[in-house]
């Protein structure tokens, strides 16, 4: 059973009023994400890994230099699916309810969280990801290079932002900080975060 690319959870032009063009998703979902899925299937075909879940493949291949290609593609398949779910047209701003309380408890305030997340996303040098994770009951902001993700690191991912240049070059050119601010103010899917936290 081959790994499959789940459908985008919104129409490719749904984020146009919120700073991200359909063209971005033509490439990011249609080319980059799809290529990771295709490459992963080619790499695991006929091996034991082909019958494992994506999460199992990620954990089994992390830091195994002989399986670096499998890890990179498997983690990028997972990361992108998680990223699409982290986006919601007209999302963003401060969360409410229990999530708001957890953020206040672990970061001091939503503004402090926002500052920490923005800083992590802006300072991940080169390609990578910024994350909100649940690390043994404490909410934390982290950043990871290239394909590395919190599953590999034994943390529970709650929210992510792709900061590879392909994620923002069509809409924001070199201006990564503008892309980060746009995500936090207009796109964060807090319902998805809350569901991940409760799971």
């Amino acid at each position: 059973m081959a790994f499959e690319q789940p459908p985008l959870p919104f129409a490719k032009d749904a984020l146009e009023p919120y700073g991200m063009k359909a063209e971005t998703f033509d490439y990011h979902y249609g080319k980059h994400h799809k290529a990771y899925v295709d490459n992963l299937n080619k790499l695991v075909e006929g091996t034991d890994l082909a019958n494992k879940s994506l999460e199992e493949v990620i954990k089994a291949t992390y830091k195994d230099s002989s399986k670096q290609g499998v890890f990179n593609n498997a983690a990028q398949v997972w990361n992108h699916t998680f990223f699409w779910n982290s986006l919601k047209p007209g999302g963003g701003g401060a969360p409410t309810g229990e999530l708001a309380e957890r953020i206040n408890k672990d970061f001091g305030s939503y503004d402090k969280f926002k500052e920490e997340f923005s800083n992590a996303a802006a300072t991940q040098f080169g390609s990578g990801w910024a994350w909100l994770v649940d690390d043994n009951g404490t909410l934390k902001v982290t950043k990871t290079p290239n394909a590395v993700n919190p599953i590999a690191e034994g943390q529970k991912p709650l929210l992510t932002l792709d900061v590879w240049e392909h994620a923002y070059y069509i809409d924001f050119r070199n201006a990564r900080p503008a892309f980060i601010a746009n995500f936090l103010d207009k796109l964060v899917n807090w319902d998805f975060v809350a569901a991940n936290l409760a799971a």
């Binding site: 080319k31 390609s127 290239n146 590879w164 070059y169 069509i170 050119r173």
Partner: protein
């Protein structure tokens, strides 16, 4: 003495159609400029380190104060690599190497076509952001290698002769996800006179 961004040695549109003017403008005026500014900011509180050239900085990273080592690695590297990159390209090139480097490439890789194919393949496989290089090793042989992000081959004691930037910002506006297409087109703008000059400096005894 602060580090400064030299102007591009040609117009933004000079490398069309292989590299588009908008990409050149953003790449030089925004990306390269940011490396220079970040480097100067990092060195602001370290006057002893301000007189060091970027080559000196990337060759001696272990001696750079730990508090600024990562920032210097990324931004001195970014400044040096991009300065080399602009010089390694020029308009109206033949697409074929000349002189001593042409001979050395043929001797080492079999032919220029075999070399190009290997370089393109290595550049395509580099995962994430980085550079693909033709370097002269410590024992003075030619080798194709890569560095992640803005690392310089000089940090490992190898001399870069030619490098192609495979960060997505180098090609995304024109080539999007098609990195191999960018790598293949780039040979049309390689300035082999500059590569020969670097080769001569690094290896004065090489036969022409």
């Amino acid at each position: 003495m602060a580090h400064r961004l030299a102007p591009l040695p040609y117009d933004y549109a000079a490398l069309e159609p292989f590299i588009d003017a908008q990409t050149m403008q953003l790449h030089h005026d925004k990306h390269h400029a940011a490396y220079v500014n970040n480097l100067n900011n990092a060195l602001a509180d370290y006057p002893d380190w301000q007189a060091h050239g970027v080559e000196d900085l990337v060759k001696n990273l272990e001696q750079v104060p730990e508090a600024i080592r990562a920032v210097v690695r990324n931004n001195a590297g970014g400044h040096l690599n991009h300065t080399m990159f602009w010089q390694s390209m020029a308009p109206s090139q033949t697409g074929e190497p000349t002189g001593a480097i042409a001979q050395a490439i043929a001797n080492t890789f079999g032919s220029f076509d075999a070399f190009k194919q290997q370089f393109n393949e290595v550049g395509t496989k580099l995962f994430g952001s980085g550079w693909v290089w033709l370097v002269l090793t410590r024992d003075r042989t030619l080798r194709i290698t890569t560095t992640p992000n803005q690392d310089s081959p000089l940090t490992q004691g190898e001399t870069p002769l030619l490098g192609n930037d495979v960060w997505e910002h180098a090609y995304y506006l024109k080539y999007q996800n098609r990195r191999l297409e960018y790598l293949s087109a780039w040979w049309n703008v390689v300035n082999w006179d500059e590569v020969n000059r670097r080769f001569q400096v690094a290896h004065p005894n090489a036969l022409a």
